[in-house]
């Protein structure tokens, strides 16, 4: 699971700022509903992967509390090691006291040198946390910092849009979505897991005919699902595999893509047009068009999991309600 999680951050694209310690040390983090821990690189990290300008210097924080416990995450060919600590956390001017977090002291590989973010702030349920202690949002609730036990995401599809994205802690902003909100109960309190009624591609419904489980994940950019289903979808939209497990389509055909994909959630249809489920990327002066669907086999006790990532969440404002354990969607 940890392996998949770290791998998935290679597709994360929305970051925000936090600060840790006294005086404050600033970090950019992915606000990730697909995990529940807060971690940043440590000043003690000596590997090449940690040659980042921003590393947490515990010795410079007067409010830092050393925890002493270690953590390790196996992934790929390497192993990420870290230690746990506790300090003040500032998020958009709000101070969370005694926040547990992880400092990574050994990171294999160099992938994170490419990242524009320094760490990850998980917004999942405590059951998903790999360290003891409250996740950030739980601490916010325990310290009565918010009016409502809710947070919500607005993610714009445009680069340099205004705003490019916004996380609201404690409520929603009705200017960013159209009513009504369709609420779906959380089916397992670890990820933000919900039930998909069905997935319809090209008017046919061979996927999840009897419903399946999905997690709503702001830490990944794509929509993922079981390999067999995703390969069928790629075939239906005419996407061709690359060597890297991605699927590419001919950009010139985009205007001829009549297909719509529908996710039926809580009896309501959520439509993605071809322009919305195809990701465009420039490689030099060439434009590449990738399918927004990716095969990732994640198994839960309730069966295979789909992931609704940014491809979906840029179209639909998402609301995460810890008070009533439900996820709401509205047209962004």
């Amino acid at each position: 699971r940890s392996s998949e999680k770290i791998y998935n951050f290679m597709d994360a694209q929305y970051y925000g700022d936090i600060a840790l310690g006294t005086p404050e040390q600033n970090f950019s983090v992915v606000f990730d509903t697909g995990s529940s821990d807060l971690w940043v690189p440590s000043a003690y990290c000596v590997t090449e992967a940690c040659a980042l300008p921003k590393r947490f210097k515990a010795f410079k924080s007067t409010s830092f509390l050393h925890d002493g416990r270690q953590f390790g995450i196996n992934y790929g060919s390497g192993h990420l090691l870290g230690v746990m600590g506790r300090d003040y956390l500032m998020v958009a001017g709000m101070m969370v006291k005694r926040q547990e977090f992880r400092e990574s002291v050994y990171e294999p590989g160099t992938a994170f040198l490419k990242a524009r973010f320094d760490g990850v702030l998980g917004l999942g349920y405590p059951a998903l946390a790999e360290i003891l202690g409250n996740p950030v949002f739980d601490n916010m609730l325990a310290q009565n910092l918010l009016d409502k036990p809710i947070f919500s995401f607005y993610l714009s599809r445009k680069l340099n849009g205004s705003p490019e994205g916004e996380l609201l802690l404690g409520g929603t902003d009705e200017r960013l979505y159209d009513l009504p909100i369709n609420w779906l109960p959380v089916t397992a309190k670890a990820y933000w897991q919900i039930k998909i009624d069905s997935v319809v591609v090209q008017g046919v419904n061979p996927f999840c005919p009897h419903g399946c489980q999905a997690i709503v994940d702001t830490g990944t950019s794509l929509i993922t699902g079981p390999t067999d289903d995703i390969l069928d979808i790629q075939q239906l939209i005419g996407a061709t595999p690359t060597n890297f497990g991605e699927f590419i389509v001919d950009c010139a055909r985009l205007s001829n893509f009549p297909q719509h994909q529908h996710f039926v959630l809580g009896g309501k249809e959520y439509t993605l047009t071809s322009d919305q489920y195809i990701r465009k990327e420039m490689l030099g002066d060439r434009k590449l068009c990738f399918s927004g669907f990716q095969a990732v086999d994640m198994i839960s006790s309730e069966g295979p999991l789909w992931i609704l990532g940014d491809v979906f969440l840029t179209q639909y404002y998402s609301i995460f309600d810890r008070g009533q354990d439900r996820v709401g969607f509205a047209i962004a």
């Binding site: 791998y7 290679m10 694209q13 970051y15 925000g16 992938a111 524009r116 918010l146 802690l169 890297f244």
Partner: protein
């Protein structure tokens, strides 16, 4: 009590690795299972293991 955290959208690690021609190396390093499956398809059962690492 309503806290707004502005989010920035930037290219993914995948995009950056691709533009620098480093994507395959990254995937071999981080998803050896994916490449093992590909090799398994290329070499039928009975051939010596080509597991990475």
């Amino acid at each position: 009590a309503l806290i707004r955290v502005p989010l920035r959208k930037v290219p993914t690690i995948r995009s950056q690795l691709r533009s620098e021609g480093l994507l395959q190396d990254f995937l071999v390093e981080n998803r050896p299972d994916m490449f093992s499956r590909r090799y398994a398809q290329c070499f039928p059962a009975g051939t010596p293991s080509l597991r990475l690492g």
